[in-house]
Point group: C2
Chain length 310, copies 2
């Protein structure tokens, strides 16, 4: 099934899209009065590729002038073809390379399938044996397959078990245990709301094998609402004795960076350094953003943020 | 002398300022069709504080909703009160802490006086003995003193020798030698054009003491024009046998990051690690962004950029 936008950029109406008459350009502006008041990131639009409102969220896909195709959920950029690999690689390879034997992996969310693409590299390397993905909104997968083909190319891979369901509900009901759980969700405003609460961290810990590792996008960075970020880290620490925070630096996320929270019940492992690493030749052939030095440096914070987050 | 803007936000006309009628908000948008087409960074304006066109450039100062006061030269953000310390600290402390005895320091540009503020910390620590600053546009210093008082508080310090002149001309004529030279300029479009050419690197090397270190803002980062960045690094390498590249991560610069080029004639020193460091208590009291771990991690690049830049 192919998706087609029935309309024109000229007549398309959306809160995030502004027409500039001076040079007849159309721009997407990411703004949020609640999450990041007073600042905006803009991308020039070449074409609207698709727009729909599902049961769960507003989904917009457009072709940008310089960032390739862009997926937007509820007005917030989820990924652009230009820089998506940075986030996908960091949220995947940091936990995988920190785990001695990451055989069973669960992905909560991840509808754009970029994390799956990264995990398949470890399937091919024979460390990961099975991938379960639980995405609430089937439409995100369908649109990614259509418009982000370099990301969504492995959701039909034989090692991937795809479930369309609420990740929170799935975790409450499952009896399976996993070595790594990656929460690749949208921000707390919308269907991912429950992922930023203490009960979610409890469900995550219940679904982990011994030495299991969880990682999630925090929807924050140190320059935005660091107070909220600290509260989120405290919620994680309430359940996990070993919690760390790292950042991914890429232009299409608010402030040019996005924080990830990584945690494990194992008190002795140092998550800020890879437990396993490939030789540099293989590392370079597999990854564009991640390497063993990037792994560690992603955890190094400016003094004021390190102090505040404790 | 106090500066006052004679006008209102409502009637102010400037290429970078847009009025949004929907919520009656005024936004500054940083855009450049040449340097970073298709992307924009926006800050909501509370008030215009000053606007002038000098012999050298267009200077706009405004009060933003969430980033404090903002200084803009030729449409490009130079600093905001919220995050200026990140850049000022990195461009200052990386060369200073990489030098065994940085007694004489030259600053080219730096009119907002943030680098001077950081250097005074080393004057108080008795490592830096004299600071020469050569800024082409007196008005930048005056407006920074008025509207960025936390940055521009030491330009009258007895150890600071301030010269209003073209930095390129100053370097061509001076017979003085320096231990550290910091080029804190605006971008190549405008009066800083000459700072991004091979002749400038030659002038810099001529004005260095043995083991001297230079650092400059590159006006680039790895996500923008990496080809141009590589060319700039090659120009530096044509003069200096030891050249490194690091990045500062902060929300108000394009893509949330800005690259710095650091170089020395000394082939054996590793500029990516501090040669000297304070104990962590003193380090924390002196600096908000810089620390010895940030020093090193600023040089760690994603694999694709490391490969491309060689």
């Amino acid at each position: 099934m192919a998706f087609q936008f029935n309309g024109s950029l000229e007549t398309f109406q959306h809160d995030t899209v502004t027409h500039h008459t001076k040079d007849n350009s159309y721009w997407f502006y990411e703004k949020s009065k609640e999450s990041f008041p007073g600042q905006a990131f803009g991308l020039e639009i070449v074409d609207i590729l698709y727009h729909t409102k599902t049961e769960f969220q507003d989904i917009l896909v457009f072709k940008s002038k310089t960032f390739g195709n862009v997926l937007v959920l509820n007005g917030i950029i989820q990924c652009t073809e230009k820089d998506e690999f940075a986030y996908q690689e960091l949220i995947t390879h940091i936990p995988i390379m920190s785990h001695p034997s990451p055989r069973k992996v669960l992905v909560i969310g991840g509808g754009d399938c970029g994390v799956i693409r990264e995990l398949i590299k470890h399937v091919e390397d024979k460390s990961v044996e099975s991938i379960t993905m639980v995405e609430i909104d089937d439409m995100v997968i369908k649109l990614s397959t259509e418009f982000l083909p370099q990301m969504a190319k492995y959701h039909n891979h034989p090692k991937v078990k795809l479930t369309i369901d609420d990740g929170f509900k799935f975790l409450r009901e499952t009896r399976e245990k996993f070595d790594v759980i990656i929460t690749d969700s949208s921000d707390p405003e919308g269907p991912a709301q429950e992922f930023f609460q203490i009960n979610y961290f409890k469900l995550l810990s219940n679904a982990l094998n011994e030495n299991g590792i969880v990682i999630m996008q925090s929807s924050e960075n140190i320059w935005l609402d660091i107070k909220y970020l600290k509260e989120l880290l405290l919620k994680a620490s309430n359940v996990f004795p070993n919690v760390e925070y790292c950042q991914c630096y890429m232009p299409s996320y608010t402030s040019g960076q996005l924080g990830l929270i990584i945690a494990t019940m194992n008190k002795t492992v140092d998550l800020t350094r890879p437990l396993r690493r490939f030789d540099s030749c293989k590392e370079t052939s597999l990854f564009k953003y991640y390497n063993h030095e990037v792994h560690h440096s992603s955890f190094i914070l400016p003094t004021w943020a390190r102090q505040y987050l404790g």
